[in-house]
Amino acid sequence: MKQDDDGETVADDKRASGLTRRRLLIGGALAGGALLVGYVATHPMETAGALLSAGGRDFEPGPFGPYIRIESDGRVGIVNPQQEMGQGIHAGLAAIVAEELDADWDKVEILPAPVDFSAYGPQLTGGSQGIATHWDKLRRTGAAARTMFVAAAASRWGVGQGEISVSNGVVSHPSSARRATFGDLLADAARQTPPQEPTLKRPEQFTLIGTPRVQRKDSLPKSTGAQTYTQDVQLPDMLVAVVAHSPRFGGKLARFDDRDARRVTGVVDVFAIETGVAVLARNTAAALKGRDALRVEWEKAEAEHRSSAEISTWYAELAAGEAQGEVEPLVFESRGNAEAPQHRGAFETTIDFPYLAHAPMETLDCVAQVDGTRVTMWSGAHHATADRVLAAFNARTLPGRVDLNVLMAGGSFGRRGALSSDYLVECMRIARRVESRPVKLFWTREDEMAAGYYRPLAHHRVAVALDDDGFPADWRHHIVSQSLLPVGGNAEACEGVAGSPYFTTASTVDCRVTSPDLGIPVTFWRSVGHSHTAMTMEHVVDQLAARAGRDPADYRRELYRRAGADRRLGVLEEACAKSGWGTPLEDGWARGLAVHECFGSFVAQVAEVRLTEGRPIVRRVVAAVDCGIAISPDQIAAQVEGGIGFGLSAALYGCITINDGQVQQSNFDDYPVVRMNEMPAIETHILPSAELPTGMGEPGVAPIAPAVANAMFALSGRPVRSLPLLRGTTANLLPAID
């Protein structure tokens, strides 16, 4: 008899026959001289797994998804099923395993997982969910492996398992001074049955998690140019493809003349695909030159032709109820009698948010080679599982015949998570026309800015009546924004408003979302809906505090107490204490505060801001974070720093505008981002916590815009009604060196 991972007991014979409903068991095996420990799918005919892996080579035996690979020389390889795009997930996941295994962290290596649904489940990276999803499985795997080593040593030395201790990859029996490394015990350990319910450490027993020793392992290759990204893939005979896209979304190709393009040395082929005209050449420079020489005409009739200014005006009308009947709003939170009109004198505001590009440092790219029904791909894919299926579909083959090599991505910020995987599909459509030669699809920065996807433009309308104590009594809120998903009621636009602790004192709450359909492609953007809801809620709350004549920190404190929002209260107090909230600053400087919950993590930020000719200068940001058990404090701080820089770029400059259906921005000269000279000094303070760990790749982004806006409000008395704060400014650009 064995226990499954719900603690349910199942019979071995039944398990072997594949009749049990349980799918995952911890398994161990010796392979190629290394001990593998991981999860075994005992029920491989599970529909989703079968479908997603159809056509794969070793589908039949029931796939094994190793998480740990221990070599005879003591090296411990830990398999990372998540996409690494800078967020440091690989080190966090590895530390969880290493902690329970008591491995030597210096000997831990991180191996990318193969894309395999039946072994690793759905592989997708988003919503800062990596740590939360894998926490339990990884701990159990690590602990099971440790138990196998303990059992092996106990039987070799003829002592009780309880007398054995493990530390830094060494198993020892202190009373007889005997010791052995993982490597020494490998073969014996492999003969042990992995326990299904291994004893896990209590958080106070952690020796690695939460220490500065947990550091990312890829810094050296990334500092010497040795790290390989998709852009760097070079294969014999490879062609580089660039695509001329329609200047308007949804514009169809009318005709093209490729005679001049084909005359460019190095150009090999030109043909139309669903998204435009592809130019293939022996190298990037020739492909780009060939594309410049193309003459293309586009149909305008079906294309999206609205301008972003028109869209903004329309959204404001929708939110104000002046364009009724055009798109129906959905109520996402309601309490009390929202039919009754709000009493006069309520606070009212609107805030406008622009479309935003992701502008990851590495532009979109993908490499694919199609050989009959066999496909090999290289990509910084986010949603490896879905990407493999899309690739297969577009190559007219089965998912199991697609080898997807997931490479590190040079940033993404959500762009590579667009559900359509547009760039990967585009690459497949080209590659299948060029049988057997590898093709690298390359997008320039201009392609990336103009061809989507974006954080959607959003409009918030908020009206709040206060009670006699100055706290919200009646809160009306209307959000207008395109939906990122075809289903789900546009919940992504409402996250950060829904269930807000600021509604606690209100007897009437009415929150609505209107989700117009437009031809402008939108997707997840680092922190998703929080990228606009945090600004709205936190900037509104400062204005309510001003109305009530109270200090913004005090006002929040009281509301959090009444709401029982203890974790918000915790980060608020920490940020205030560490930033010197309430103490005087030099003339012309003010502090701004914002507190927000994003994907289960809580972040408070206090920004020190001065206004020079109306332009905010941010010199210091103090952040307080509660993300449950902090696995890698250094990486949490890094993500907070990076999140603030990313959020500040958007708050100050980020703005994609559309005129006559055409995107107006093209590169970093008209889509400026924060550079070295504008980066504030940042301090990150992590609250001790025993809660389950939550991700930190995104939550640091959202609070910076309202923290800066609130400081500006304190300085000038004028609220911010739209982002970016410096619309149309490109002044940050310093002269290039050459």
Binding site: L220, M361, D634, M676
Partner: protein
């Protein structure tokens, strides 16, 4: 057209259109992919290499304009033997966990090497001036700044 370039101390013969940006010659023809494309118009610094020891944006240098000037890329600058500045900087980058996605970092290191060669003891303003042409979308700027100060200190103390 044929060009003879001096890349990382070696003579390399390439056949290119004269207007081809040096970046694509390095990446596609010579397979030196440490220098990255990020913007193609001297806005981001991801493609920074040294021309006669001075940092340039290789995406905006036509191959025909290089002539006999010495080109050094990240591969040689941080390879062995690396100069003292490069050694101190890569050590500071690793110890300080500077990179996130890492894509901008070869350009950052190339700009930082040039800065330290010119100003062994740079002020924050010197760093702003020398490094503001290098965008990092992961915004690792504070760690880059700290890394440059650490590297400068270790060079002064002779530790590197």
């Amino acid at each position: 057209m044929q060009f003879e370039l001096t890349v990382n101390g070696e003579r390399r013969r390439v056949d290119e259109d004269p207007q081809t940006p040096l970046l694509w010659v390095l990446r596609d023809s010579l397979h030196l992919t440490g220098s990255k494309y990020g913007c193609g118009k001297a806005q981001c610094g991801a493609c920074t290499v040294h021309l006669e020891g001075r940092p340039v944006r290789s995406c905006s240098v036509p191959v025909a304009s290089v002539g006999s000037r010495r080109i050094e890329t990240i591969e040689a600058a941080t390879g062995s033997p690396a100069g003292p500045e490069a050694r101190a900087l890569t050590r500071a980058w690793v110890d300080g966990n500077v990179p996130q996605c890492g894509f901008c970092q070869s350009g950052q290191i190339m700009s930082a090497i040039a800065l330290l060669r010119e100003r062994p003891n740079p002020s924050d303003q010197d760093i702003d001036r020398a490094m503001s042409g290098n965008i990092c979308r992961c915004a690792t700027y504070s760690r880059i700044r700290a890394g440059i100060h650490t590297a400068a200190a270790s060079l002064r103390s002779g530790a590197a």
